[in-house]
């Protein structure tokens, strides 16, 4: 039997795209010491707001813009809760996710009576017919612009230096005159925007429609990917590709007659199991950012 390797690779990149966006956003958050469990909800809100705006304005670009705004607001909410109020980050994050998922579903029900809608204003793949290269614009941006840019920012920019200092040792950052709170606000808001773009990729590029549970745990996977990649850009991208590959493989296997006897649920679970296994093997003994989970208060 011939294995459609190119198709699997092309699907790998597509599937990995929302994970790259959201996980890189999570890196930004966590490098400043804030764990953002609002990621799943932020992606969900991005997916819904992007879709909603595109449906009403008939413009996918405006949809992305609206998703970015939604992500900034979600990041701002997390920042107010965890930075200004110093709320427990687990609670703040899960609360944010619950709120954003429920608010999106509720609005969806009000406007579309809960049925799934399709938008015409959706991104098309660039370079159709070129196999692996026939990808959505946001895939190109994720791999060719976002990842290298974030890598450079963290390594070679003053902003990146500030971010890392705040995440590792906020007392030292404060003593060096770096505004700890605003650095965390900025990181949470930018990160939120990236997560929302990742969510909007699902509605505006992949599906062209919004359905309930559209994010289906991708946000949680990103939390695992960030730990697996030890908060570094390229290993996290590699982790996203691993998940993408496992998922693409699974999709391919599902239509192969050889695997017709395997329950579909098991195949769907496969990429998640791969990531959990990878985390269990390589994610042990990792060193979390020094101020992880800790709000900063001047002594």
């Amino acid at each position: 039997m011939d294995f459609p390797l190119l198709a699997v690779l092309a699907a790998t990149l597509t599937i990995a795209t929302p994970l790259v966006w959201a996980a890189l956003g999570a890196i930004l958050n966590e490098r400043t010491g804030i764990m953002n469990l609002g990621i799943e909800g932020t992606m969900y809100a991005g997916a819904f707001v992007g879709f909603l705006t595109a449906a009403y304005t008939d413009s996918a670009l405006l949809g992305i813009a609206a998703a970015i705004v939604a992500g900034l607001v979600a990041g701002l909410l997390m920042a107010v809760l965890t930075v200004t109020l110093g709320v427990n980050q687990h609670v703040a994050g899960i609360g944010t996710t619950l709120l954003l998922v429920a608010a999106s579903d509720f609005t969806n029900r009000l406007l579309f009576s809960g049925g799934s809608q399709t938008v015409t204003a959706k991104f098309d793949r660039w370079f159709p017919g070129t196999g692996v290269f026939a990808q959505y614009p946001m895939t190109y941006v994720a791999f060719l612009i976002l990842a290298p840019a974030l890598w450079w920012v963290l390594r070679s920019s003053g902003f990146g230096l500030r971010l890392r200092a705040v995440g590792e040792n906020p007392e030292a950052a404060d003593a060096a005159g770096i505004p700890v709170a605003s650095t965390r606000y900025a990181a949470l808001m930018f990160g939120g925007a990236f997560m929302a773009i990742g969510g909007a990729f699902l509605t505006l590029s992949l599906l062209g429609s919004f359905t309930l549970d559209i994010v289906s745990g991708r946000g949680w996977i990103c939390i695992a990917l960030v730990i697996f990649g030890r908060w570094r850009v390229w290993p996290v991208v590699a982790g996203a590709l691993l998940f993408g590959f496992a998922d693409a493989l699974q999709l391919q296997l599902a239509i192969s007659p050889m695997f017709s006897a395997v329950p579909n649920e098991l195949l769907i679970a496969f990429p998640y199991i791969v990531v959990i296994a990878a985390l269990a093997i390589w994610g042990r003994g990792v060193r979390y950012p020094g101020s992880y989970l800790t709000p900063y208060r001047r002594a």
């Binding site: 003053g158 500030r162 030292a172 005159g177 770096i178």
Partner: protein, 561 residues
């Protein structure tokens, strides 16, 4: 003002209150260019508050600061840095996962591209200015404490600092590093920089400072040139009447006491008073014995020798604590490598070493918090190697651990914490007898002079009082052997003296005491014998009377003397 250079920094009438506490009470302080100005005072005297205000970390209620004749408002460290002020605290403000160069760049870094190459060059230049070599590409967490401190000073210079505040810079250093630090300070002041030097150790202050200001209870009680200073006066001025109460002595500060204070903060007592307290046998166990601190004076040598001989005489009998070939393996090199220490009854043995060389592990193994890979521990004739914590205590082990706050249950009362380790003794059937606990606690609080209500949550106690509670808890069972780790860390002079007197008292009652400390002065003053721990191995074993700071310092850095 014509022809006269304005002072580098002038603080006028600085007042700062925290609630009812006046931390700084109308303080005036002047630092001239090229001057090392020492600030002395007990913990809580207001030194830290004052320097925090100068560095913009804290805002004064009133008063003003002028730098080189211009009044400046320090609302943040950024303002202070812009005014040319740098500060190096005991807790370094370094990001451990970053390189030296990255740490140096942190202050004042913008948002955009950073220029590593230029920063690296400037780092090397700044290091050259204080005559030290640093590797700008080293990751900070791989550096030793001394090296990190140099990085901190270089960091201050990196930002064109003209007034450097050093907050207890020598507390964390081995003697060799102290020498390097002082050389660096001299180079800087020769350049016209000013240095504010905070220390508890008077001999250092006398060595390096040009002027000494003494703070007590938020006020400057004296500001005098350091040259020709009489150390006893400084000690007495520093502590005022406070220690008198601790030592239970009712008369005004006498020569003897002042000397005891002087020694407890690392000074050699004057010859006159040393003679006064020379007979080793019949002095009060408390204050007087503090004079043994200085190993250099004949009296001290004699008294430690006496103690040492008595210790040796007792080795014929069963040791109070016998540690044999104790080994603890970690993931890499062994954390403890065939450590053997014997503490005779009536002996205090000190464990010296730079932190991170196995002290924490040794204490955990002795206290039953970690299981050794091999080796044995005996209290008297009982082998406690395999025993649990409760059995160890029953066998006669007393513990005073490094982490004071980790040894108490913060939200339980003083009373409850005091009886925590021997609840069984207060059992009446399945219940605890409140009345018996109360009586016991009342006695302990009187005996150990714990100043708190028995029902106060223990977290509200000061470090000194909390240490008294822990001492009371450990000593109330009359342990055969006491393991005391960093027993005076963070305590003020009076409280330190109290702890020393209790440890000596226990020794005189025939128990063996093992003191683990990073403070060489403390070990030299308190112990009969000192062993040096380096990389998990005992690499030195000397009588305290024969030991010199330099020799111990060399051992602590792993170079055999």
């Amino acid at each position: 003002m014509t022809g006269v250079r304005p002072p580098l920094a002038e603080l006028r009438a600085i007042t700062k209150t925290f609630g009812a506490l006046v931390a700084n009470d109308s303080i005036d302080l002047v630092v001239q260019p090229g001057e090392v100005h020492a600030l002395l005072g007990e913990n809580g005297a207001g030194k830290s508050t004052l320097t925090r205000i100068l560095y913009g970390l804290s805002q004064p209620d009133s008063g003003e600061i002028s730098i080189e004749g211009t009044v400046r408002k320090m609302s943040s460290p950024a303002d202070a840095m812009a005014a040319g002020i740098g500060m190096v605290t005991q807790e370094f403000s370094l990001v451990g996962t970053m390189t030296v160069t990255e740490n140096l760049m942190l202050a004042g870094v913008g948002i955009g591209r950073i220029n590593r190459v230029a920063a690296r060059t400037r780092a090397l230049e700044a290091a050259a200015r204080i005559g030290v070599s640093i590797n700008p590409d080293a990751v900070v967490e791989t550096l030793s404490v001394g090296e990190r401190q140099r990085v901190e000073i270089v960091k201050a210079l990196f930002h064109d600092c003209r007034l450097l505040i050093l907050d207890e810079p020598t507390a964390v250093l081995v003697p060799q590093d102290v020498g390097m630090l002082f050389d660096s300070i001299r180079r800087l002041t020769a350049d016209g920089m000013g240095v504010i030097f905070i220390s508890h150790k008077l001999h250092e202050v006398v060595e390096i400072a040009g002027r000494v200001s003494i703070l007590r209870r938020g006020k400057i009680v004296a500001s005098v040139p350091a040259a020709g200073l009489e150390p006893r006066q400084i000690a007495a001025m520093m502590v005022g009447a406070e220690v008198v109460a601790h030592g239970g002595i009712t008369e005004a500060v006498s020569t003897v006491e002042a000397d005891a204070l002087a020694t407890s903060i690392g000074l050699e007592p004057s010859a006159v008073s040393t003679a006064l307290v020379a007979p080793a046998g019949d002095r009060p166990p408390g204050v007087g014995r503090a004079t043994t601190v200085s190993s250099a004076t004949p009296a001290a040598t004699a008294s430690t020798a006496v103690a040492a001989t008595s210790g040796r005489a007792n080795t014929a009998s069963v040791p109070a604590l016998a540690i044999r070939d104790l080994t603890l393996r970690g993931s890499g090199a062994p954390l403890l490598d065939t450590v053997s220490i014997t503490v005779a009854p009536g002996e205090i043995v000190g464990v010296a070493g730079v932190s991170g060389n196995g002290q924490t592990e040794l204490v955990s193994v002795l206290c039953g918090m970690a299981e050794p890979t091999s080796g044995s521990i005996q209290i008297g004739r009982v082998d406690i190697t395999a025993l649990g914590v409760v059995e160890r205590i029953r066998a006669g082990l007393g513990r005073l651990t490094e982490d004071r706050r980790g040894s108490v249950i913060p939200n339980l009362s003083v009373e409850q914490n005091l009886v925590l380790e021997d609840l069984d003794t207060f059992r009446r059937g399945p219940f605890l007898s409140r009345t018996r606990m109360r009586t016991h606690v009342h006695q302990l609080m009187q005996r150990f002079d714990i100043r708190a209500n028995a029902t106060d949550p223990i977290r509200s106690l000061s470090g000194g009082n909390m240490q008294k509670v822990l001492l009371a808890r450990a000593l109330s069972r009359n342990p055969r052997a006491l393991v005391a780790s960093q027993p005076t860390r963070g305590l003020d002079v009076g409280a330190c003296e109290y702890v020393y007197s209790q440890l000596r008292g226990l020794r005189d009652d025939g128990a063996g005491v093992l003191v683990i400390s990073e403070d060489l002065d403390e070990l030299l003053g308190l112990c009969d014998r000192i062993v040096v721990l380096f990389s998990g191995r005992i690499i030195g074993d000397v009588m305290a009377a024969d030991a010199s700071r330099e020799e111990l310092g060399l051992l602590m850095t792993g170079q055999a003397a």
